[in-house]
């Protein structure tokens, strides 16, 4: 392996660090119409009357669209394989407005000033109704978020719009209640997470134009180009064949762009006006009408025997889908499947859930996709269980963690762990943190105390039996290769790591392979970059495509040599005849193709018969009927989980409650890291995001359902001063089903900070915060309450 498992620089890196114009808004032409959306000020209202005359007559305005102007067929914006598990519950514009920020009208004009002016001139009479804002009261509430009869769930997921239910289910194994009753130690707590925002630095944006064939061309900052093609076809009610989607470089996604948040608006404008148009979401819009993480409330009952063996887990998740159901039936599943599976001795479990519709911003996909919330809850519950039995939280994990070949309870996509080095991850993390010296806490003097906490995490590698990755590989005339991909590099570097794999498979230099990003007209089908699928799924497609192309190269090379194809080898530069196999073949290899073979003398000197790749490539373009091009598509029947251990050391100011992560240790088993640098940065970035979720990022609503944290001023993602040291190591297993032994890494890495930080705060202060984020106020007030309680019990 020359490139795989190396710290290779990203192939687009220098363009990015020198600020080249490679993003959607840099590439959209200047004469694009500007598209903006009028947004609902109410959480639940109906458009009684809408007057657009003054707006439409504003100088520079090209069109003003209302619910009267859009197709009446419902669809979903979720970027998922068809048939989507998310309900078809949207129109481009609807009379019924379901959250503060829902789209009321679309305005397109020559300048932003004109559009802003026109937006103010639209006169809307709303019929305002009471909203459903409390997730506890949403199910079977008489107020329905989706009362309409044309609401449709394409797949049975327990959804019922007449009950405000977006999904509901119970999965059980064994008699969990009986087993819990027999457990020596049990806990029963509820944990709450917020609808966190991905806050990729580039907000949602799309540019559209009509091409010379009259087709709708869409350039979008998206993770799901092929799904966008279908979604726009559904939304506009036109054949998807009329749509082409191209993805340029994108400024981050983290799942946010796994929902087609903004594409429909310029798409309908361009389709109707036939003029190029673009929409660029403000940060404000990205905060109030996008696709944040599902707010979840998770009750965990956990039981262990006298030896600390976790026997039973009962998980109930109440998830807030918000006003529309994108990713709602699917994210919730991970909250149980990827948390219960961390405890291999679990004999009985129950995983039940409800996902409710409410009149707030719709949720979507965010790195971790429900697993983050579930792992926070279950890992926290196990930490509470350990505290209750007076056991070191590392110890309880040593006793119960996933092991290679051992069961992954509740994880349907692999009943046992095909590859797993959680044991080594835990041991390494313990050593790196110097856990035994630091657990549970150290008093630093000055009123500061440091505590440590631990959590495990796991994710999947693709959606088993669903996700599709493809690679199209061809040999060019000059002996270089082109690798066509349908997966979407969003800064993570998949365009680079897939080339690394291909270069090793083809025994060539990375410079000799050109990868091109996504154009739905040209690229092979790929479900897109999400579900931690790309390295694993598309990587396998690349490896297979390389093997196939090698075969074709050998085939043509052998025929040029006049030998049997099974008697040649290809070393990346030459196809050579294997002497040992047979000696009675033709010896005029140089004349094949009618041209002099490069390296002829060399070949003669060494006494081997061989033909160079360059000559084969040229032969491929001259009098040749065998294509030097292959397409391979791969879908995995299993989803082998990557694993990791996270340990946090926090420092708490006992008087103010100020809590800072001073050190975070992460040890990851992602199988073989294809690119050691990128795997490390993925981990560091995921942990920083997780720390944001654990400590800082809050979402508060007014009693009218207005999001108050609607900017970077009010929604505080961590700055570099809010992140302590993050130290990452890899303890890798080898995943037989993965390319070069690789599993996924992208999502896994956000799963441990919430429970690890929460436990570190507990170990430092004795205060258990079960509702994120863990703000200084919650810690300080918790300490006061605890001290008051202690005084009372002493008295």
């Amino acid at each position: 392996m020359k490139y795989v498992n190396q710290p290779i620089r990203k192939t687009d890196a220098m363009a990015l660090v020198t600020g080249k114009p490679v993003y959607t808004d840099d590439l959209a032409p200047k004469d694009c119409l500007i598209v903006k959306v009028l947004r609902s000020p109410y959480a639940n209202a109906w458009v009684e009357e809408i007057k657009t005359g003054n707006a439409a007559q504003t100088s520079g305005i090209v069109c003003v669209l209302t619910y009267k102007d859009v197709p009446k067929k419902r669809f979903t914006l979720a970027g998922q394989t068809y048939p989507e598990l998310s309900p078809y519950d949207r129109l481009i514009l609807d009379r019924h407005l379901r959250f503060v920020g829902d789209a009321v009208a679309i305005v397109a004009g020559e300048t932003e000033q004109a559009v802003d002016k026109a937006l103010k001139r639209i006169k809307v009479k709303y019929r305002v109704e009471a909203p459903v804002l409390d997730i506890h009261k949403a199910k079977d509430n008489p107020i329905l978020v989706h009362p309409e009869d044309d609401w449709e769930a394409k797949v049975p997921v327990g959804a019922d719009n007449k009950r405000n239910l977006c999904a509901s289910n119970i999965e059980e194994k064994g008699d969990v209640d009986a087993l819990l009753a027999s457990c020596r130690y049990t806990v029963d707590y509820t944990y709450r997470t917020r609808p966190n925002q991905q806050t990729m630095m580039e907000t949602f944006r799309t540019y559209c134009h009509i091409d010379h064939f009259g087709r709708l061309n869409v350039m979008s900052s998206t993770q799901i180009p092929f799904h966008v093609k279908r979604i726009l076809g559904n939304a506009l009610d036109i054949p998807a064949s009329k749509i082409r989607v191209v993805k340029p470089r994108i400024g981050g996604g983290f799942g946010a762009k796994q929902t087609a948040v903004c594409e429909i608006y310029p798409a309908i404008v361009t389709w109707l006006t036939k003029r190029p148009s673009k929409i660029v979401y403000s940060r404000y819009e990205s905060m109030i009408c996008s696709s944040p993480r599902h707010e979840m409330e998770i009750r965990v009952r956990a039981g262990a025997d006298e030896n600390g063996i976790v026997k039973a887990l009962d998980v109930y998740t109440l998830s807030n889908g918000g006003a529309y159901g994108e990713h709602s039936p699917t994210t919730v599943g991970l909250s149980g499947h990827k948390s219960i599976a961390l405890y291999r001795h679990t004999e009985a479990y129950r995983f039940a859930y409800d996902v409710v519709y409410t009149n707030v911003q719709a949720s979507g996909a965010y790195r971790g996709y429900g697993a983050t919330q579930g792992i926070y809850a279950v890992e926290s519950a196990v930490n509470e269980l350990a505290a209750k039995m007076g056991m070191d939280p590392v110890k309880i994990r040593e006793l119960n963690m996933p092991m290679e070949g051992e069961p992954l309870p509740a994880y349907g996509d692999c009943p046992t762990a095909p590859s797993c080095s959680m044991d080594r991850c835990l041991a390494k993390a313990k050593e790196m943190m110097d856990w035994d010296a630091k657990y549970p806490f150290r008093d630093m003097g000055n009123g500061k105390v440091r505590g440590v906490g631990v959590a495990m995490g796991m994710q999947g590698s693709s959606i088993a039996g669903v996700d599709v990755g493809s690679a199209e590989l061809k040999l060019n005339e000059d002996g270089s290769y082109t690798l066509g991909l349908g997966c979407t590099d969003m800064g993570t570097g998949c365009d680079t790591i897939l080339v690394q794999m291909a270069a090793d498979c083809l025994d060539t230099k990375m410079e000799n392979i050109v990868a091109f990003g996504v154009d739905t007209d040209i690229s092979p089908y790929d479900s897109g970059s999400y579900a931690s699928a790309t390295t694993y799924t598309t990587g396998n497609a690349v490896v297979q495509a390389c093997a196939d192309l090698r075969e074709k190269i050998c085939g043509l090379g052998a025929s040029m040599l006049g030998v049997d194809a099974d008697k040649v080898d290809f070393d990346g530069e030459y196809v050579s005849y294997r002497e040992t196999a047979d000696s009675e073949t033709s010896d005029n290899c140089e004349v094949v193709g009618g041209r002099e073979a490069a390296g002829k003398n060399e070949a003669e000197d060494s006494g081997t018969k061989r033909v160079s790749l360059k000559d084969i490539a040229i032969k491929g373009t001259c009098g040749n009927s065998r294509e030097l091009q292959v397409t391979r598509t791969y879908s995995s029947p299993i989803s082998p989980p990557p694993f990791m251990v996270g340990m946090a050391e926090v420092e708490v100011d006992k008087e103010t409650g100020k809590t800072q992560v001073v050190d975070y240790v992460a040890v990851v088993d992602c199988g073989t890291p294809i690119n050691t640098n990128l795997a490390r940065v993925q981990t560091e970035g995921g942990i920083a995001q997780g720390i944001g979720m654990a400590l800082y990022e809050d979402v508060q609503y007014s009693d009218k359902g207005v999001i108050r944290n609607n900017s970077f001023m009010q929604y505080k993602i961590p700055s570099r001063q809010d992140i302590g040291d993050i130290r990452v190591e890899f303890e890798c297993s080898y995943e037989e089903s993965g390319p070069f032994g690789a599993k996924s890494i992208g999502e896994l890495v956000i799963d441990t900070p919430c429970p690890a930080v929460a436990d570190a705060v507990y170990n430092a202060t004795g205060v258990r915060v079960r509702e994120l984020p863990i703000t200084p106020e919650k810690v300080a007030m918790g300490i006061l309450k605890k001290e008051a309680g202690e005084q009372e019990s002493n008295a």
Binding site: P7, R9, K10, D12, A13, M14, A15, L16, V17, T18, G19, K20, P21, V22, Y23, D26, Q198, T199, M200, M201, E202, T203, R249, I250, G251, G252, F254, S282, R283, Y284, M490, G491, T492, G493, N675, N677, L678, R680, V681, E684, G685, G686, I687, A688, Q689, S711, F712, M713, I717, S719, R720, Q721, I723, D725, I726
Partner: protein, 157 residues
């Protein structure tokens, strides 16, 4: 309104509206490295240098650069290549969207503080948000770049 100023070393006369922000003005003039990440002066993506000082171009009226020297990454390509290669070697450029503003502020920092330590780096660059990298890779790249510069200077002596 008419303004005259230096843009990346070129003296220019331009016509601007009184309420146009420098960010939009610069993008309109083809300086597409200048990015917008928020509307509240919190992200640092739009950082450019005005008379050598890093400012948020989202918060500066274009008319106010009258007579001043404005530098964007388009005007510092060589330096961006040099430092950027260290960022790239950590894989910490990631999506790249915050890179120009971040790197421009790194240049401003190095002009102001000759040999910043890790704490100074974190403080000076606190106004540059990044959601991909978790920041630590960025810090590594700066520290390695400083060592490289120091070695270069040492070699020149």
């Amino acid at each position: 309104m008419k303004i005259s100023f230096w843009l990346n070393g070129v003296y220019r006369h331009e016509e601007v509206e009184p309420d146009v922000m420098l960010l939009d003005f610069l993008r309109d003039k083809g300086c597409l490295s200048v990015k917008r990440g928020c509307e509240t002066a919190n992200c640092g993506l739009c950082t450019v240098l005005v008379n050598d000082k890093p400012v948020l171009s989202c918060s500066v009226l274009a008319v106010r650069v009258e007579g001043r020297k404005v530098v964007t990454m388009e005007g510092m390509q060589r330096e961006a290549q040099e430092f950027g290669s260290f960022l790239a070697d950590e894989g910490a450029e990631q999506c790249g969207f915050c890179n120009p503003g971040f790197i421009m502020n790194v240049f401003a920092m190095l002009k102001e503080i000759k040999n910043p330590d890790e704490e100074q780096i974190k403080e000076y660059l606190a106004g540059n948000l990044c959601r991909c990298s978790g920041f630590v890779g960025q810090t590594r790249s700066i520290l390695k770049f400083l060592r490289y510069k120091k070695a270069q200077e040492g070699g020149a002596e």
